[in-house]
């Protein structure tokens, strides 16, 4: 199902120039993060494969940086439930049609980093933040674009598809707050999630 790969150097990320996207990511994420710029190229590559579909959901395999790229560039957010984070630790995202599970996975491909020493050192944590040459890293990421990524079609596991029926709301017998009951009279916090000392 893969569309023709675009091998020219990427100068746009979705509907933004790369520099516009960098401004956006600093605004949303609070600071420049190399992983979020690479994440922009990843989302851009994935979205391009999803043009046959009207809507798509997203899975993000990392908690770091990548969720923000998806939230900035697609309609999928954590709060609307169209973005699920399944933390495998891998630097990868998947977009998929929500009923069939058909979609695309885009991941960082370490085997393609031979020409990108700054990206390799940062990504593999071979260098301290202090010793990073941030300008060289930024430049390498901009030049590499999609060249350091792997893109493959996937079908999402059926266990991850579909909506769970909504539980009725009850008041917790301990804290008195409302929560979606699942046969329990205590909310998960009162059952043992230890959030507050006071």
């Amino acid at each position: 199902m893969l569309n023709q790969p675009n091998i020219r150097q990427m100068d746009t990320i979705c509907r933004y120039t790369v520099d516009e996207y960098i401004d956006m990511l600093i605004q949303f994420h609070g600071n420049f993060a190399p992983g979020l710029l690479i994440g922009g190229f990843m989302v851009d590559a994935a979205v391009q494969q999803m043009t046959p579909y009207e809507f798509f959901d997203a899975i993000c395999e990392s908690t770091s940086c990548l969720p923000d790229a998806i939230q900035m560039l697609t309609p999928c957010t954590v709060g609307n439930g169209w973005l699920k984070i399944v933390n495998t630790g891998r630097f990868a995202i998947a977009l998929y049609e929500k009923r069939s599970g058909d979609g695309v996975r885009v991941s960082m491909d370490v085997s393609k980093l031979d020409q990108c020493p700054e990206i390799r050192n940062w990504f593999m944590r071979l260098i301290s933040k202090h010793d990073q040459d941030k300008n060289a890293l930024l430049s390498e990421i901009k030049t590499a674009g999609r060249d350091i990524l792997s893109i493959r079609p996937v079908k999402i596991s059926s266990k991850l598809l579909g909506k769970r029926p909504r539980d009725p709301i009850a008041l917790c017998e301990s804290c008195g707050e409302a929560f979606p009951t699942n046969g329990s009279v205590l909310c998960p916090a009162c059952k043992g999630v230890d959030l507050f000392e006071i």
Copy 2:
């Protein structure tokens, strides 16, 4: 530590008018969600308590709607790690100073819903989406503002504070992808998180 509560009807949410915020939430979240408007008032109330601190982190106790209010209105996002989601099912957020854990928790207070039948019916899931009077619900939420919330000082459990040391990156012996190793030679996906059928 609570600042003087502001009992006038709220016509702003952080630096936006309520209507500007509604436009923003539709843009970010994809559609109007009552919980996200209430979430705006919650974040606004919490942020106002955090003025003594230069920075704060956030905990969201629900996966639904509320994470987006925090991400739109504060510097805390899922991807930058300043927002943690600890799903207790309760409709509540906490903002806190990241070293001491001192902060504030804002939650929906069901005992304050007597004058708000539309909000009660929606929040307690007593009415189907189809039978909701959406305009009446929106109007009630705008009028209620903070009046349906509880605000209290908290100290976040020390277990949730501080950064975990970053694990070194290794290549998974099964899939070959990079992941933060934790003494394991297999990434969590290859250890059994079943994401893809293809």
